[in-house]
């Protein structure tokens, strides 16, 4: 074994840095999903009748649906009745009124994760709605946001404070019967984030939520709903990390975005769930439905994601471009290592005239991992003047991994232009040689090359996320030379 191979093994064998479990007393329902469970969750959260009815309809539909298997991911059968669908950290009161009321162990967890809640919030001007398992426990900068008329709160709170908005928009982008996992989420979601930006308001700060799976044998079913009213603008940041587990955990989130006339939504994600060990044991199953609708003229939705974690990733953040001149964007870096499997991509559905979309996807595969880009660009007959540009590149590191590209291009309007290009390659020996002979270490050279490979995506991230994403890439792949 060469020194290079040895180094590669060492790097790949490195443990998950965020792997620890916080010992907090949880309030967990017994495993299983039925009408009783749904009624329990709904009652526990004091939900209005319309939401309970909606959940029950979703549950009914879910019972009739089959788990999809078209994605290029393989995992043992999931027993959905063996999962507990509600887990809430116990607090001394009904809900913390400020950070000082939050369980200190929980705050310590965030510290271990490197999430400097107070400092970061102050220094970067970021409001944080931190979600721990399924219940929001800390929210900052609310006053400043309220001043601007922005509603940014846990979903369960929005149900109480703005039921009319929730009723109007919930399920309007991702209906409860959209797919198997969306139906599951619609029935069983426990919390998430809600954002409403009033007309003409530019959100005064980046909005950020941290998700974290904690209690064992619990699924995480987040529901996020963001509505940008006419002429508004919002940038939303989502980051995830999870403790080490031996058993697989299920994450089935739904994110719905609505952009009305001239509104813009930028949704950024750094996903670093526990990916399982080198033998593929453990890790998060991440089945996420993310979709945005550009309903208004000149509206824009931009998805940016850096996916480094999860054992299984099944995720296709999409844009439905309904409004004339609306714009959809998708920027993605997906890194898989060891036995990770990712099947991710996007859908751009062009319905309005002069709609435009851009897709930039970078897939990096190492070890025995499988990384698939699956994307659809569909131009409907009414989308005169529509344009799409897609670029998806794959980088392979090592002889045992796989990189796959599965685009679908459907064009039904003769005035539309769709362009797609893709490439698959490995880190060139000439590139490495050049870097080494300029004095760089092998590790730095690979980092630099990978960073350059992903540059067009990373530059789309907000500054603080870009730094975090760079670190994640380095941790995942440094020295991994094929």
């Amino acid at each position: 074994m060469t020194a290079q191979d040895q180094h590669l093994e060492n790097v790949l064998a490195r443990g998950y840095q965020h792997g620890f479990v916080t010992d907090i007393e949880s309030d967990t329902v017994p495993p299983g999903l039925d009408e009783e469970t749904i009624r329990f969750i709904s009652a526990r959260k004091k939900e209005p009748q319309f939401l309970l009815d909606w959940r029950l309809r979703a549950l009914e539909r879910w019972f009739t649906m089959k788990e999809p298997h078209w994605a290029k991911v393989h995992y043992p059968p999931i027993d959905y009745q063996a999962i507990s669908y509600y887990s809430a950290p116990k607090a001394t009161t009904d809900g913390p009124k400020s950070l000082s009321e939050v369980d200190p162990k929980l705050l310590a967890t965030y510290e271990k994760l490197g999430v400097p809640l107070h400092e970061r919030a102050r220094l970067a001007g970021v409001a944080v709605d931190a979600v721990f398992d399924s219940v929001s426990v800390a929210t900052t900068f609310k006053a400043k946001l309220a001043e601007a008329g922005v509603v940014f709160c846990p979903f369960s709170e929005a149900v109480q404070s703005h039921p009319e908005l929730v009723e109007q928009y919930l399920g309007s982008v991702v209906p409860y019967g959209d797919n198997f996992y969306a139906a599951l989420n619609s029935a069983a979601f426990t919390d998430g984030s809600f954002v409403y930006i009033p007309p003409g308001v530019r959100c005064p700060m980046e909005l950020s939520t941290y998700f974290r799976i904690n209690a064992a044998k619990t699924g995480q079913f987040e529901r996020t709903l963001i509505i940008a009213d006419a002429g508004s603008h919002v940038s939303y940041l989502e980051g995830c990390t999870a403790p080490m587990r031996d058993e697989n955990q299920l994450h089935a989130a739904v994110v719905e975005l609505v952009a009305l006339d001239d509104a813009q939504i930028k949704y950024s994600t750094v996903q670093n769930w526990y990916p399982g060990d080198a033998q593929g044991k453990g890790g998060i199953y991440n089945f996420v439905t993310k979709r945005g609708e550009c309903r208004g003229r000149n509206s824009k939705i931009s998805w940016t994601q850096v996916e480094t974690g999860s054992a299984i990733t099944w995720k296709y953040p999409s844009c439905v471009l309904l409004g004339d001149n609306s714009v959809g964007e998708f920027y993605s870096v997906a890194v898989t290592n060891n036995r990770q499997q990712a099947d991710t991509g996007t859908k751009m559905i062009h319905l309005g005239a002069n709609t435009r979309s851009t897709i930039i996807s970078k897939g990096i595969s190492a070890g025995h991992a499988q990384n698939t880009y699956r994307g659809m660009v569909s131009v409907m007959p009414g989308a005169t003047g529509a344009r799409n540009f897609t670029q998806c590149d794959s980088l392979l590191i090592g002889p045992h991994c796989g990189a796959h590209t599965v685009p679908y291009i459907e064009t039904k309007n003769p005035q539309a232009v769709v362009e797609h290009e893709a490439s698959t390659s490995r880190i060139g020996e000439d590139q490495l040689f050049y870097c080494l002979q300029r004095g760089l270490s092998e590790e730095d050279a690979v980092n630099m090359i990978v960073s350059g490979f992903c540059r067009s995506v990373l530059k789309e991230l907000p500054m603080e996320f870009a730094v975090e994403a760079q670190n994640l890439l380095a941790v995942s792949l440094e020295g991994a030379v094929g």
Binding site: D178, V379, A403, P407, I409, E410, V417
Partner: protein, 437 residues
Amino acid sequence: MSSVRPPPVPGSLSQAAFEQRLRDAVMDAAPMLNAKLLPVSVRSSALNRALAAGLPQIRDDLWRYADLKFLGSAPWAPLPAAQDANRWLDAARAFLPAPLAGFERLVFVNGRHAPALSGSSPAVDADAAPVVPERTRHERFGWLNDAFATDLVRLHVTGQRRIELLFIATPVDAPQAQHPRLELAVLPGASLTLVERHLGDAGGNSLINVAAQLHVGRDARCVHLREQNLAAQAQFLDTLQTALDAGAEYELTQLVLGARSARSSQRISLYGAGSAARIHGVAVAQGHRTLDQSLLVDHVAPDSSSTQVLRGIARDRGRVAWRSRVEVAATAKRSAAEQSLKGLLAGHGAEIDLRPQLEIHTDEVRASHGATTGALDENMRFYLLSRGLDPETARGVLEWSFLADAISRIVDTQLRQLAEQQLLAAVGSTVAREALQ
């Protein structure tokens, strides 16, 4: 991935009705199925597999864009031989193109060998054994060819040969099924230039179900031009399998210009080290035609290479759909694959669906693809109009140049000229024709 548009439903035919139709067809066809060409055990096994596979399912991704509505009423039993053979031959002569200089000609009329229209070469080598390749469920209609083929071309090619195969369909009294079949082996070191043309008019509601298998031996070479230019109401199914040994070369050019509904399932397997495949395809869908092709290029051996250049035009309410997949196995180190797919939309009800796909299982590989769809470039059109061309001529020139990108890569001059002539007829560009002359 879930679809925005529901996938096509194969007519109103249920699975049970499809099975019954096949069983009835076997009863009708039994006296015509020559056991010397294909043993009964092969036919029986193929039929059972086809029955087990059933119809393509509505959500089967590989059949997503195919127009299979005709399966609801399509016949499967092959047409009995004509009682008055001259009637078929006379009808076939109307579709017979001029002979290609230097080519041996073999003509089949309504699925049966027509020696009167062919040259002196036999269609079947006496010492050649039947070739029935392994098929997947996606090649299910190939099984039905195995079961129902009434005649075939079975040759072992040595030395250098140039062969022209003509499959002519003529109108008959009742709906008919034809099962043209090719089994060709290009032996090591040999060279075959093959022209395979499907022409004619089988009449409404008839079905043509082709199965072609080629084996290109070590260091052998095969240049293959396929043309499907059937009448506008034809229903065409096609299964092509080509296997390449070490050092073999295969150049495939496909002209898909006719039929109301055409579906082709093709697999080109690079089993030998250093083997190479070059694939050029052109499709022009007019009227209500749906031209659907699913192509798999399977890199198994190291140092193999493949290129694909596919160009399609959809006019009126026509649809061109291409699924073009490259799979590179972990054993296929140092392989290279390139795909270029382009579609031109020339009608407000037209549709282009492109799926260039890569599945790569090793890092020592170079693979890339590009795909575009759009209308004719307005700047180019404006330039031609400004030079005095009328709109129709300008369109013809631009469409011709768009398609010529694929066929200009044909190495064999005679084949390239043949392809050019056929495309000029499809595009209708007199200016381009004059320029070529």
